[in-house]
Symmetry: C2
Subunit: 365 residues, 2 copies
C-alpha cells in the first residue's frame, strides 16, 4: 500500500498512518494489518488495455419456491455458468491463457500468493499474455444449484440424495497431499512452499460440490467455449482440473492453441480410446510435475508419483500418434523442492518462466 497521508487530515489518525508507512509492504506483524500489509508492492505499475469479468455458458431453469429457499414464489434461475475474470495488457499481446484451478479452490489460486507475492495471473499479464481466470462451475463466483439441499431440508428428498461437499483440509488435504513436507507441520528441508503462510492458503478453500462425480462435467465444454470466444487460447489446468483441457479438446479443439497441465490428478492414460488419442495428438501439450513425488499424501488414492506415471503412459500413447507432448518434473530441470502448489511456491515466477517459454515455442505461433 502506498502512503495515504495526503487524504488524512484528522490529527487523531496521524499515528496509525505513520505505523503503516513504517511497516511497509514486505514485513509482517502490524497489529491490525496482518493480511493486507503482508502483500508485496509491485516494482512497476501494471498497465492494462482492459480488464473485467463475465460468464461463459449457463442455462435458465425453473425451480420451486422450496428449492429457492422458501422466501419468494416459484421462479427461474441460472445454472452451469462459468465466472471468468480477465486482464489484457496494454501494447502488443501474445496468445491468451486461460487458468483453471484444482479441487476445493477457486480462481484465487492464481492471484496473490498466500504470503503476499505476485501470482501467475498478474505475472503472465506482465509477460504480454491476456489472462482469463475462471471459477469452476459449481463453486465460488460461478455459484451452484442449491435446489437439492433445500429440498432435503424441507423433507422432500432424502438426505443421501444431496451431494457430498468435499473440503481439502489443512494437515492432510493440503500439507501432506500438496507435498509441503512428509508429515503434517514438518516441511521438506528444501520445500519451496511458503509454509509460514499455510494458514492463509487454508483461507482459500471452498466447498467443492463436484468432488463426487466427474461425469458430464460442464467445465469441459465451458473451457472449450471460452477458448473459442478468444479465437484461440492456451488452457492451463491444475490437479483436479488437470485433465479438463483434454476433455475440452475432445469436445471442440478449434480454440485450443495449447494445453498446460500442472500436476494433473489424472492423464487418463488407459481411459482414452485410440480415436481420442489421435485428436489429442493434434494439440501441443505440456505436463509439469514438481518434486518429492513419492511422498505419502496422507489421503486415499494414488500418490503423485502414480499420477506422474499415468501421465508417462499417456505421453507414450500421444508420442505414438505423433503428437507434440512434453512431460517433465521441475526437479529434473535442477530446481528442487517444488510442491503441488507451484503457482504459490517461493520460486513461482521461475516456474512460470518455464511455462511461458514452452508457450512461446509451441503454442505462441
Amino acid at each position: 500500500m502506498k502512503s495515504i497521508n495526503n487524504v488524512f487530515a484528522r490529527p487523531l489518525r496521524a499515528a496509525t498512518v505513520a505505523v503503516s508507512v513504517l511497516a511497509g509492504m514486505l514485513t509482517v506483524g502490524s497489529a491490525f494489518g496482518q493480511h493486507l500489509q503482508d502483500i508485496a508492492r509491485a516494482e512497476s505499475p501494471l498497465v492494462l488495455q482492459s480488464r473485467g469479468s463475465f460468464f461463459v455458458g449457463g442455462e435458465q431453469v425453473e425451480r420451486s419456491a422450496t428449492e429457492l429457499g422458501s422466501f419468494g414464489p416459484d421462479d427461474r434461475i441460472s445454472v452451469n455458468q462459468m465466472y471468468v475474470e480477465y486482464m489484457v495488457p496494454d501494447g502488443k499481446t501474445k496468445v491468451p491463457v486461460v487458468m483453471v484451478h484444482g479441487a476445493t479452490l477457486s480462481g484465487k489460486t492464481y492471484d496473490t500468493t498466500p504470503d503476499g507475492r505476485m501470482g501467475w495471473y498478474e505475472y503472465f499479464v506482465r509477460k504480454s499474455h491476456p489472462v482469463y481466470v475462471v471459477d469452476q462451475i459449481g463453486r465460488a463466483r460461478s455459484g451452484f444449484d442449491q435446489s437439492v439441499f433445500n429440498s432435503v431440508r424441507a423433507g422432500k428428498l432424502s438426505p443421501d440424495q444431496q451431494p457430498s461437499m468435499l473440503r481439502l483440509a489443512d494437515r492432510f488435504g493440503a500439507w501432506t497431499n500438496f507435498r509441503f513436507g512428509p508429515e503434517p507441520g514438518k516441511p521438506f528441508p528444501d520445500t519451496q512452499f511458503p509454509i509460514e503462510a499455510a494458514d492463509k492458503l487454508s483461507r482459500q478453500s471452498v466447498p467443492d460440490l463436484r468432488g463426487a462425480s466427474r461425469a458430464e462435467n460442464p467445465n469441459w465444454k465451458g473451457l472449450a467455449d471460452l477458448a473459442l470466444q478468444l479465437n484461440g487460447a492456451v488452457l492451463l489446468s491444475h490437479s483436479q482440473s488437470g485433465s479438463y483441457p483434454l476433455q475440452s479438446a475432445l469436445i471442440n479443439a478449434k480454440g485450443i492453441r495449447g494445453i498446460v497441465m500442472i500436476e494433473p490428478g489424472t492423464c487418463n492414460a488407459q481411459v482414452h480410446t485410440g480415436d481420442e488419442i489421435a485428436v489429442l495428438a493434434k494439440t501441443p501439450i505440456f505436463i509439469l510435475f514438481g518434486d518429492h513425488l513419492a511422498s505419502p499424501t496422507g489421503m486415499p488414492g494414488p500418490t503423485w508419483e502414480d499420477r506422474f506415471n499415468d501421465c508417462k503412459a499417456f505421453k507414450k500413447r500421444v508420442d505414438a500418434a505423433r503428437g507434440n507432448i512434453r512431460l517433465i518434473t521441475t526437479a529434473e530441470t535442477g530446481v528442487r523442492g517444488n510442491s503441488h502448489m507451484m503457482m504459490m511456491d517461493r520460486n513461482n515466477l521461475q516456474i512460470a518462466d518455464l511455462i511461458l517459454e514452452w508457450i512461446d515455442e509451441q503454442a505462441g505461433r
Copy 2:
C-alpha cells in the same frame, strides 16, 4: 478485446480472427462470442500501482472426516474469512473505498455490468480511489462451512438442522424486486436497467447461506477490520449489506471515514439504542435510493418505499444527535428510472459521480 492478429500465424484461423475484429466490442451476436464480445473496450488504459487479493479474518476449526466430505481423515479448516480483491491506481490516491454486495450475489456486482460496461469497481479506481471489493463471508470466494450439510447427508443431523440457501430468482427476486418494471418481463418505460441483459444478471446469482439469520453476522467485524487495515476507508454497501457498515461502526468506527448505503434493506431506525445513534452520528453517512420505490416487489416483506421511510426515520434520529447524514433518491436529483441495481444501470457512472462527489466533500478529508 484488442485484435490478436499478430500472434496468430496459422492460415486456418485467419477467418475467425477477422470475424472478431469486425464484430467489435459493442455489438452482440457473434456465434461463439456472446458474452465476451459484448464487453465494451475501455477508452484509455488502466494504470495500477498495485492489485491483488487477500483474506480478512477467519479462524481454523477442527472437523470430522464426515464433515469434510468423507474423503480424507479428520482435519482442520478455515471458516469466517472474507475474500477481498483490490486495485490501487497509480499516482496520487484519494480515500480507499470498500464495496460490499447484496443478497445472493458476490463482489461481481461491482465489476463489468451484465451488458458489458464498466462497473463501479474500475470507475472508482479511475477516479483515484483504491477500491477493495469483498465477497460476503459464507459465499463465493469467501467459502462457507460445509460441515452441517455433510452431517445431514450422513444421517448424523436431521435435515431441518441445515440452513436454508436463499436464491433470488429472475422474475420476482430480480425483475420486480429490483424494480426493472411493474411485473415480470414488463419494464418501466424509463427504466435505466439494461433489461436486454437480465439473463446475464441471472448468471451472477449464487446461493446465500446467510439469508436465514442476521444475528452475529461475521461480515460486520470483517468490514470494520478491513477499514482499520486500510488506515481509513469509506464502506459502501448495498441492499442486504446496506446496514452492515452501521454495525461495523458500532464494533469499531476507528477505520470508517464514511458510510455509503445503496438502497439498504433496513436502516434499523427503531432498533438502534440512543447510545448507538450517538456513535453513528460521528461518521458521515450517505444513503441513496433509486426510482419507482412504491412498485410492488412481488416478494414477501416491505416495499422499497417502506425501507426508504425506515431510513428517513433513522436520519431523523441521527440529525437529532447532530450527525452528518444525507438521504436522497436519484429521482429527486432529476434523474428518472434508476433501479435497485443502480451500479449496473445504464447511467451507473452518472450515479457513481453523485457518490464520488459526496465522498470528496464529506469523507475525503
